[in-house]
C-alpha cells in the first residue's frame, strides 16, 4: 500500500506543513561554548570542560580534544576525553589539559563517535578557547593541612617563586619561564600537633614538566633530605642555590628515592588503602609527590588516603646542623614504627625501620632498604645501560618465536656468571623460556642498587613494560648486574655459582623436626636461617657460614648441614642449611648484617660469597590453626588432599603467602632425595587457607625416583613486602 493512495495530497501537505512549523529547529552541526570552563589551567595538571549541543544521538565514545592555534588543523596537541556527561541537549566533556602544551591561548575542538555517527566540531566549525597557564600546584600536610605556610619554589637555575598555602594546604605558583626540576620548601607559620611553627618540609618535582603538581609532607622531605645527605650536602645549602653539585634530583633519581620510602611506609599505606608507586600515577595508584590528595583540617582524623598515613606521624626529627632526617615515627594504637635513615657513604642511602606491637605480649619487625642517590654524574651510566637494554628488547621483538640463545649472546659479557650459569646457558635459558611469549614495549633503568665505579659494575633494577596475549604487564623489580666491558654495558651476573641466603626468620615448628634434636610439638624461635642450593656439578663438599656474632651454636661460624638432594626442573642440587641458635630481639643481627659463606668445591675452588639478612619479625602468629600435636602419622597425609588454615600476621605488610610440601625418601642427610610441590590453589596476601595434593610416593619427583615417602614437611611462608619472613615447618610423621 502506498501512502499517497491512502491520503489525499492536500491533506498530507497540510499535515507536513503543520509539522514543520511546530517541530523545534534541529541543529545540523555541533556547537561549543565560546570558552572552555574553567577557561584556564595548567598543562598536565588541571581538568577543564567543553560544553556543547547538536551532537548525534547515542553514547559518545572515543572522544578526543584537539588544541590548535586556530579553529582549524593542524593541531598542536590532543588528549582523551575522560568523561562525557549529558544534561538535556547538552553534552559536557571533561579532559586533562595535555601535558605537552606550552603556555598560551588555544582553540579547542572535539572529535569522536556518537552512537555510530562520527563527529568533529571542526566541521561546523565550532571551537572553545582555553588558556594554558604554567603553574605548579601542590598540597602541604603534616597530617593536617598546613594553612598559611610559606611556600618557596626554586628551579634548576636558582630562580624562585613564592606563595602561601590555603586553609586546605593547597598552593599554586606561577611557573612560567622556570626550568624543572624544581625544589619546593614549605615552612609552617603556626604550630600543629607535635610540630612547632617554623617546621620545614622539602619536596621536589617528580617529572620534567614546566607545569606539575608537587605535594609537600614528611615523606617527600625524607626523599629530598636523603638525596642530599647521602652526598654529604646540607639540603638547606642546596636549596639556597641548587646549581652544579647541589642540583636537585632528576625524575629518575626521585623514583629511586621513592622506591626506598614507599616500602618503609608500606604498612601504613596498605592500612589506609593507598597504592603508592614510584612511577607516575596510573590505574588508581598514586605518586606520593605528583598525585593530588586531600589534606584534612587540624583536629580531623582522615578516614583514608595519603593524609591518613601522614596523620600517624607523631615525630619527624631533623639534625639542625646537617639537615639530615634523624627519624620519623608513626604511631597507631599499640603499633609504633620508627623509620631511621643512614648514609654509609658513596651516595648510598639505607632506610631502617622498626615496628613494635605492644599488644598480645609484644612483637617487633625490622626492615632495611638500600639504594643510591642518583646524581647527574651517574646519568651516563644510566644512559649506557638503557642503550644496552634497548638493544636487548629489539632482539627479543625482532626474533619473536625464533629467538635463540645465540641471538641474545651479544648482550652478555664473555665472563658472565650468574648462580652457576655461564653466558650461553643464561642466554639459552632466557630464549627457551620467553621466545615469542611477549613483546617488549620498554626496558629501562628504574634505579641503581649499587655502583662500583672502580670495576664499572652496576646492580640495577629494571623497569619493564611488556605485552603478552593482549595484556600489558609492567614492573620494576627485574634485577640485572651489568659491567662495562669495552665501552658497552653488558649483563655480567652475580659472579657466583649459586646464591647464598641468610634469612632472618620467625620460625614455628610443628610435628617432628629432624633438623634439630627436640621433642615433637610446637616450637617457636627467631633465628638466622642459612641455606644454599648449588648444582651437584660443582661438587660442593662443605660450606661454612659466619657473621652475626656468636649465634652459630655459641660460635661465630659453623658448617652447614648437607641435606637431602633436591630435584627441581630436571636438575639436581646439593642442599646445605643450618639454623642459628634461637635469638631474641636483643641478639638477632639487625637487617643488613653481612654473612659470609665459604665453599669447598670439587670443580670451582674455594669461593666465598656474602649475603645480608632481611627484615625480621618476632611476631608469632604464623602457625597452622588446624593441626593437633601427636596426631600426624604419614598415612594421614600421603596420597591425600589436605587443607591447612592459618591466621595472618599483623605487624608487617604481607607480600606473599606460599604453601608447599617437601617429600623425602629417607632420613635427613645427603644420601636422601627430595622434591617440592606448591599448593593447588593460587594464594594471595590475604589467603588464610590452602590445599596440597600430597603425592603417594617418590615417583612424583621424577629423576627415576620411586619408593615410599619416608618423611615430609609442609611449609607455610608468609613474607612481608619488605622481606620479613614468617615460616611454619610442619613435619610428618609426628
Amino acid at each position: 500500500m502506498k501512502l499517497r493512495s491512502a491520503y489525499p495530497s492536500k491533506t498530507l501537505g497540510a499535515v507536513l506543513t503543520a509539522s514543520i512549523l511546530l517541530v523545534p529547529s534541529v541543529a545540523w552541526g555541533q556547537s561549543l561554548t565560546s570558552s572552555a570552563n574553567p577557561p584556564s589551567g595548567g598543562a598536565g595538571v588541571n581538568n577543564s570542560y567543553l560544553t556543547g549541543s547538536g551532537f548525534p544521538a547515542g553514547t559518545i565514545t572515543g572522544a578526543t580534544v584537539h588544541l590548535g592555534a586556530s579553529c582549524a588543523t593542524p593541531q598542536v596537541a590532543s588528549g582523551p576525553v575522560s568523561q562525557v556527561t549529558t544534561q538535556g541537549v547538552l553534552r559536557r566533556f571533561q579532559f586533562l589539559i595535555p601535558a605537552s602544551v606550552t603556555p598560551g591561548t588555544y582553540k579547542v575542538w572535539l572529535s569522536g563517535t556518537a552512537g555510530a555517527t562520527a563527529f568533529n566540531t571542526l566541521n561546523t566549525p565550532s571551537c572553545s578557547t582555553i588558556t594554558v597557564t604554567a603553574n605548579v600546584t601542590g598540597t602541604a600536610s603534616l597530617g593536617a593541612a598546613i594553612s598559611g605556610g610559606s611556600v618557596t619554589l626554586v628551579d634548576s637555575n636558582g630562580v624562585t617563586r613564592f606563595a602561601t598555602t590555603a586553609s586546605d594546604g593547597t598552593f599554586v605558583l606561577d611557573s612560567s619561564g622556570l626550568t624543572p626540576p624544581y625544589l619546593v620548601r614549605v615552612v609552617t607559620n603556626s604550630p600543629s600537633g607535635n610540630f612547632s611553627a617554623g617546621t620545614t618540609f622539602y619536596s621536589v618535582s617528580a617529572d620534567s614538566n614546566v607545569s606539575t603538581h608537587i605535594n609537600v609532607h614528611a615523606l617527600t622531605d625524607l626523599m629530598v633530605r636523603s638525596f642530599y645527605s647521602a652526598q654529604g650536602i646540607d639540603p638547606d645549602t642546596a636549596f639556597a642555590s641548587p646549581l652544579g653539585p647541589d642540583a636537585p634530583p632528576t625524575p629518575l633519581a626521585v623514583q629511586t628515592l621513592a622506591n626506598l620510602v614507599i616500602p618503609a611506609a608500606q604498612l601504613w599505606l596498605n592500612n589506609a588503602g593507598v597504592n603508592a608507586i614510584p612511577d607516575p600515577p596510573s590505574n588508581g595508584a598514586i605518586n606520593l609527590i605528583s598525585s593530588p590528595f586531600i589534606a584534612y583540617p587540624p583536629g580531623v582524623t582522615p578516614p583514608s588516603g595519603l593524609d591518613a598515613v601522614l596523620h600517624l606521624i607523631t615525630a619527624d626529627a631533623v639534625n639542625p646542623v646537617s639537615g639530615t632526617v634523624l627519624g620519623i615515627t608513626f604511631v597507631n594504637g599499640t603499633i609504633t614504627e620508627t623509620l631511621t635513615p643512614s648514609y654509609p657513604g658513596g651516595g648510598s642511602i639505607t632506610v631502617n625501620t622498626t615496628t613494635t606491637n605492644t599488644a598480645n605480649g609484644g612483637s617487633t619487625s625490622s626492615e632495611s632498604f638500600s639504594g643510591l642517590a642518583l646524581t647527574p654524574a651517574q646519568q651516563s651510566v644510566v644512559d649506557g645501560i638503557n642503550a644496552s637494554l634497548a638493544i636487548f628488547a629489539n632482539i627479543v621483538n625482532t626474533k619473536g618465536g625464533a629467538l635463540t640463545g645465540n641471538d641474545l649472546l651479544p648482550a652478555y659479557a664473555p665472563d658472565y656468571l650468574n648462580d652457576g650459569q655461564n653466558a650461553s646457558q643464561a642466554a639459552n635459558a632466557f630464549a627457551l623460556e620467553n621466545a615469542g611469549m611477549f613483546t617488549v614495549n620498554s626496558l629501562k633503568v628504574f634505579s641503581l642498587k649499587s655502583l662500583d665505579t672502580v670495576n664499572n659494575v652496576a646492580d640495577v633494577l629494571v623497569a619493564y613494560d611488556i605485552s603478552a596475549s593482549g595484556q600489558e604487564q609492567t614492573g620494576h623489580d627485574f634485577e640485572i648486574i651489568f659491567k662495562n666491558e669495552g665501552g658497552t654495558w653488558l649483563q655480567y651476573g652475580d659472579q657466583q655459582i649459586t646464591q647464598v641466603n641468610a634469612n632472618s626468620e620467625s620460625r614455628t615448628s610443628e610435628g617432628k623436626d629432624s633438623i634439630s634434636v627436640r621433642q615433637p610439638g610446637l616450637y617457636f624461635q627467631t633465628d638466622i636461617g642459612a641455606f644454599v642450593n648449588v648444582l651437584t656439578s660443582f661438587g660442593v663438599t662443605n660450606i661454612t657460614v659466619s657473621g652475626g656474632g656468636s649465634i652459630w651454636n655459641g660460635a661465630t661460624s659453623a658448617s652447614l648441614f648437607h641435606q637431602p638432594q633436591l630435584l627441581k626442573n630436571g636438575q639436581t642440587f646439593d642442599v646445605f642449611g643450618r639454623l642459628s641458635q634461637a635469638l631474641t630481639l636483643a641478639t638477632i643481627p639487625p637487617p643488613g648484617t653481612t654473612f659470609t659463606f665459604n665453599f669447598t668445591t670439587g670443580s670451582f675452588g674455594s669461593p666465598a660469597y656474602k649475603a645480608t639478612n632481611n627484615a625480621f619479625t618476632t611476631e608469632r602468629s604464623v602457625i597452622f590453626a588446624n593441626v593437633t600435636a601427636g596426631n600426624g602419622p604419614l598415612s594421614s597425609v600421603v596420597g591425600k588432599t589436605v587443607t591447612y588454615t592459618w591466621p595472618l600476621p599483623l605487624t608487617y605488610a604481607i607480600g606473599q603467602v606460599h604453601l608447599s610440601v617437601e617429600i623425602q625418601d629417607g632420613v635427613f642427610d645427603a644420601a636422601t632425595h627430595s622434591c617440592s610441590f606448591s599448593s593447588t590453589n593460587q594464594l594471595t596476601p590475604t589467603s588464610t587457607s590452602g590445599t596440597l595434593n600430597i603425592p603417594a610416593d617418590m615417583s612424583a619427583c621424577g629423576g627415576g625416583l620411586s619408593g615410599a615417602i619416608q618423611q615430609l614437611s609442609v611449609f607455610l611462608e608468609i613474607d612481608g613486602v619488605n622481606g620479613e619472613e614468617g615460616i611454619v615447618d610442619l613435619t610428618y610423621p609426628f
Partner: protein, 214 residues
Amino acid sequence: MVRPLPKPLILLLVLGCCSMVASADAIGVGLLTFDANTLTAPAAFDILNLTGANAFPPDFPFTTQLTISVTNLVANLQGGGTLTILGSRFTVVDPQGDLNCTVAGDAGSGGCDVAAYNILSATLTGTLSPLTGLAGLPAGDSGIASAFTTTITPNAGCGPNEGTATILTAGCDSAVVNATGIPRTSSVPEPSTWILSATALIGVLLACKVRARA
C-alpha cells in the same frame, strides 16, 4: 476510499501546539557544575553562562547575555549539617560571563574547595540581569524574574557502575540554571500562538472534511 487520520496523529498535532507554551516558565540560562581538579581546587562549583555567545536555542534561548550574580550556595552534607559558600567567592572568569568559585582553600574556611566533604545536594541562589528587552525571550513572556534557585543532586550515570551515587561526584554532576519567565499580562492568546493553532486545526478539519465526503 480515504482512511481517517489516526487518533495518535491528531494527539501529536495537539501536543505540538502546546509544547512551546509549556516551556515558557522555566528558561535555561546556565549550568551549575561540580568540577574536579581545576586550577582552583580538587573539587569546586562553577557556573557556565549559557546566554549571549553561549546560547543554545531553543533550550538556552537568550542571545542577550545575562549577568549571573550568586547570593550563595548551600551544600547539604552527608550526616547532617550544611556548608555555605558565599557569592563573593564566585568570580566572572571570561567574557561570556561564566562564573566560577575561585578562592583557594577549604570551603569551610573561606575557600571553594569542597573535596573534603560528602555533599548530598547543593542549592544555588542568585539574581539575573537584565530582566527585559531580552533577545530570544520565548513568546508569551514579557521578561524574566530576577531571582533564581537551582539545586544540584547526584545525576544518573555519575555513580558507581554508571548508576546514581548518594553524594555528588566531582567532574560529573551538573544542574541546569533556569530563569523564570514572566508571562504577559494579556488574558488572550498571543497572535503567534493563534497562527500555530489555526494551522494545525486547518489540517485536522481538512482531514475530517475529506472523510465526510467519502
